[in-house]
C-alpha cells in the first residue's frame, strides 16, 4: 500500500519538475534571440528610431512604415517597428516604455488616442527621446507630421475637377460620407468656398451623403447621376463614396465618359476602376512619403536642427526642404494624385 502511494507521488513529482522545466525551455526559447540585437542598440543609442503605428497588419501603416524605414536607412538610423495588434487607447503604451528603456533617439507614433499615450510620451521626452507624431496628432510631441491640410485636399480635388471640365466648366455634385464627420465637412465646405471664389464656371448642384456605408453610397451615386441630367462630375472626398460612385459607373456603361468621378480613395480599392478606365484620377496622400518625412523630422530633432518651433527648416532627402509651421506642425505637401501610371505601386 505504501509502495503504491510513494510511487504515485514520485511520478507526480516528476511530472511537476518536467512541467517547470518545459515552461523554462518554452520561455528561454522565446527570449534567446534577443542577445544578438542588443549590440546595435547600444552602439547607436541616439541614432535609432522606433516607429509605433496604430496597429500591425494595417496596409496603410505598412506603407508609411516602409517609407520611414527607407529614410532611416538613408540616414543611418537603426530602425525598429513595434506596435500593438489591437487599437485600444493604451495598447501602444508598452512600446513607448520599451523605446525609453532601450534608449531610442526618437519615437514616431500614430497614436490611437491623443491623451492615453501622454504620460509615457512625456516620460520619453524627459528621458531625452524625441517624439514625432505622424498621421494622427497627440497632445504631447515635438512635431506633428500632418499628411494633409483641409486647404491642400480641397484645392487638390478642385484642381483635378476644373482641369477635367476645362474653361467651360459644368455642373458637379459632391458625395460625402457621414453628414456629421467633422473632417469631411471641413473638406466639403472648403471645396464649396474655393469653387465659389475661383471657379464661377462650375456649379455645385447638390451635396449628398453616403454615410460610410457601401450600399447607401452606391444608391446616393445612382440618385445623383439619374436626378441631375446635366451632371458632369462628382467629387467624393471619402473613400467609401468614391469607390461606390466608381462602382455605379462600372455597372452602368451608358454614363461612362459622361459623368466623371474623382475623390479621395485607397489605391487597393480603386485600382480595378482605374484599370478598366471607369475613372482616371483620384487623390489622397502618399503614406510612404509620410513615414519618410517622419524619419527625417526625427533625425532633425535628434541633431538639434529643429526643436518644433515655428519657422525652423530641415532637409528631408528626396522630398526636399520642409518648414515647421504653427504648433509644431509639418505639412507633407499638396494632395498626391493616383492614376494608371502609379496606382499599381501601392498596396494599402
Amino acid at each position: 500500500m505504501k509502495f503504491t502511494f510513494s510511487k504515485a507521488s514520485r511520478k507526480r513529482g516528476v511530472a511537476a519538475v518536467v512541467t517547470v522545466a518545459a515552461s523554462a525551455i518554452l520561455l528561454t526559447g522565446c527570449v534567446a534571440p534577443t542577445g544578438d540585437d542588443s549590440g546595435d542598440g547600444d552602439a547607436n543609442a541616439s541614432g535609432s528610431i522606433t516607429v509605433i503605428p496604430k496597429s500591425l497588419g494595417n496596409k496603410y501603416f505598412e506603407a508609411s512604415d516602409k517609407g520611414a524605414a527607407e529614410a532611416a536607412d538613408e540616414l543611418g538610423l537603426t530602425f525598429t517597428e513595434a506596435g500593438p495588434t489591437a487599437t485600444g487607447s493604451a495598447d501602444q503604451v508598452p512600446f513607448i516604455q520599451t523605446a525609453i528603456q532601450t534608449g531610442q533617439g526618437a519615437i514616431a507614433i500614430a497614436a490611437n488616442d491623443p491623451a492615453a499615450v501622454c504620460n509615457d510620451l512625456k516620460a520619453a521626452q524627459s528621458a531625452g527621446v524625441k517624439v514625432v507624431a505622424y498621421d494622427t496628432d497627440t497632445d504631447c510631441r515635438d512635431v506633428f507630421i500632418n499628411q494633409a491640410t483641409v486647404d491642400g485636399i480641397a484645392q487638390g480635388l478642385v484642381d483635378l475637377t476644373s482641369a477635367h471640365l476645362g474653361p467651360d466648366g459644368g455642373t458637379i455634385a459632391i458625395l460625402s460620407g457621414g453628414a456629421n464627420a467633422a473632417n469631411l465637412n471641413a473638406w466639403v465646405d472648403r471645396i464649396t468656398a474655393i469653387i465659389e471664389e475661383d471657379h464661377p464656371e462650375i456649379t455645385i448642384a447638390k451635396v449628398a451623403y453616403g454615410d460610410d456605408i457601401d450600399e447607401k453610397a452606391y444608391q446616393e451615386a445612382q440618385g445623383l447621376i439619374q436626378s441631375i441630367p446635366d451632371l458632369d462630375a462628382i467629387i467624393a472626398p471619402d473613400t467609401v463614396s468614391v469607390k461606390e460612385a466608381a462602382h455605379y459607373l462600372a455597372d452602368t456603361p451608358e454614363y461612362q465618359g459622361k459623368v466623371w468621378v474623382t475623390g479621395l480613395g485607397l489605391p487597393s480599392e480603386m485600382v480595378e476602376y482605374i484599370d478598366s478606365g471607369v475613372i482616371e484620377q483620384f487623390g489622397l496622400w502618399n503614406p510612404e512619403d509620410l513615414g519618410y518625412l517622419a524619419s527625417y523630422a526625427a533625425q532633425a530633432l535628434i541633431n538639434g536642427d529643429i526643436t518644433g518651433a515655428e519657422g525652423e527648416t530641415f532637409e528631408a532627402g528626396k522630398l526636399g526642404e520642409y518648414t515647421v509651421g504653427p504648433d509644431g506642425e509639418v505639412v507633407l505637401g499638396p494632395m498626391f494624385v493616383f492614376d494608371s501610371s502609379n496606382v499599381g505601386d501601392f498596396s494599402f
Binding site: 512541467t19 520561455l27 534577443t34 500591425l56 489591437a86 487607447s89 520599451t98 525609453i100 491623443p114
Partner: protein, 347 residues
C-alpha cells in the same frame, strides 16, 4: 469506502498516507506558476538588456494593474462555476460616468463614488438575472458586456475627458517611496488579502467552493447559493468600476472604449493560474500568479523587441500548455487516487 471513513482508526490511517506538506505545496499549480515567474525573471535579467532596471517592474505593474485588480473577484465567481465577462465594459462605463461627472463640476471623490456605485448596480443587475431569474451567467454577462459598452461609448461619443488634476494623476503613477512598485500595488495587495481570507478562511469561501463542485449538494448542506452568487457579482461590479476610476486617472483619459477586451485577459490569467473554469477548484494566489506571469511574459518579450503578434502566440501557447498539463496531471492523480482508495477499502 464510506465504511472505512467512518471508522476513526481507518481514517487516521488513511490520513497518514497523505503526502508531506512540502511535497503537497510543490505539486500545486500555483507553485509551478510562481516558479515559472521566478525562472522567467532570472532568464530575462540574464539575457534581455535593460530588464534589470526598476523601470521594468514599475511599468510591468502599471500596465497589468487593471487586469490584476479585476481578476480578484472574478476568480471567486469562476470557482462557483459562473463567469463574469462584463468587467471590461463595467470599467469603460465607470470611466465615462467618472469623467462626465467630473467634467460637470462634481468633486473628484464624489465622481469616483458615483462611478463605483454605478458599477455595483451593474453587478447587482448581473447577479439578479443569474440568481433570481436563473439565467446562465455566460449569456447574462455577454449581454451586459455589449449593453454597457454601448452605453459608455454612446454617452461620451468621440469626446474624451482628459483634464483631471495633475497632482492626482502624478500620485497614481508614482512609485512607492523609491521602490520599483507603483502605488496601485498597495490596492492590489489589500484586495488580494481581503478576498483570499474571504475565499480560503471563512464559511462563505467554503460555500463558494461547494457551489462550484455541486450547487445542489451545497444547497442541501445549508450554503445559501443564490445569496453567495449575488454578493460575488456585486463585488465584481464594484471592483471593476473602482478599476475604471483608477484606469481613467492612470491614463488621464475618460473614454467609452477604455478596458475594451479586458474581460478575456482577466479570464486568461485566472485559468492560467490553475482555477478550473468548471468551478470548484483553484486559489486566489494562483489566479494572481497567472496574471503576473502574463505581465512578466509581455514585458520580457516587448523589451526583447519581439512583435506583439508573436507575444499573442506565446501567451496563447502558455495558456493551452498549462491547461493541458493541469488536465493530464489531474486525470493521472484521479486514477491513482481511485486505485489507492480501492486498495484502502480492500484492506
Amino acid at each position: 469506502m464510506s465504511a472505512v471513513m467512518t471508522d476513526p482508526a481507518a481514517a487516521a490511517k488513511y490520513q497518514r498516507f497523505g503526502r508531506p506538506l512540502w511535497r503537497r505545496l510543490l505539486l500545486r499549480t500555483e507553485t509551478a506558476i510562481i516558479l515559472a515567474i521566478v525562472l522567467l525573471i532570472i532568464i530575462a535579467t540574464a539575457t534581455v538588456p535593460y530588464f534589470a532596471q526598476p523601470y521594468t517592474y514599475l511599468t510591468m505593474l502599471l500596465n497589468s494593474a487593471p487586469i490584476l485588480l479585476m481578476l480578484i473577484p472574478v476568480t471567486l465567481i469562476i470557482i462557483t462555476g459562473e463567469i463574469d465577462l462584463s468587467v471590461g465594459s463595467v470599467l469603460g462605463f465607470s470611466s465615462v460616468i467618472f469623467g462626465l461627472s467630473y467634467a460637470a463640476g462634481v468633486p473628484l471623490l464624489v465622481a469616483a463614488v458615483l462611478a463605483i456605485v454605478g458599477g455595483g448596480l451593474i453587478g447587482l443587475f448581473n447577479g439578479v438575472l443569474v440568481t433570481v431569474v436563473g439565467l446562465p451567467s455566460l449569456a447574462v454577462t455577454i449581454g451586459t458586456l455589449a449593453l454597457f459598452r454601448g452605453i459608455a461609448v454612446g454617452l461620451l461619443g468621440t469626446r474624451a475627458v482628459t483634464d483631471f488634476p495633475e497632482e492626482v494623476l502624478g500620485f497614481v503613477i508614482s512609485p512607492i517611496f523609491g521602490s520599483p512598485l507603483p502605488m496601485v500595488t498597495v490596492a492590489i495587495l489589500v484586495l488580494v488579502v481581503a478576498f483570499a481570507v474571504l475565499l480560503h478562511f471563512t464559511p462563505f469561501g467554503r460555500g463558494v467552493f461547494a457551489i462550484g463542485l455541486s450547487p445542489e449538494a451545497a444547497a442541501f448542506s445549508g450554503v445559501r447559493v443564490n445569496r453567495t452568487k449575488l454578493i460575488l457579482f456585486v463585488l465584481s461590479g464594484l471592483v471593476a468600476s473602482a478599476t475604471g476610476v483608477y484606469y481613467t486617472l492612470q491614463y488621464s483619459n475618460a473614454i467609452g472604449t477604455n478596458g475594451y477586451g479586458f474581460e478575456l485577459q482577466v479570464v486568461t490569467a485566472i485559468v492560467l493560474g490553475g482555477v478550473s473554469i468548471w468551478g470548484g477548484r483553484g486559489t486566489l494566489l494562483g489566479a494572481l500568479a497567472g496574471g503576473v506571469l502574463i505581465a512578466a511574459l509581455n514585458k520580457t518579450l516587448q523589451l526583447a523587441g519581439i512583435g506583439s503578434d508573436t507575444i499573442s502566440i506565446v501567451t496563447g501557447a502558455a495558456l493551452i500548455f498549462s491547461v493541458v498539463v493541469a488536465s493530464v496531471a489531474g486525470s493521472i492523480s484521479r486514477r491513482r487516487r481511485g486505485k489507492a482508495s480501492a486498495i484502502a477499502a480492500g484492506a
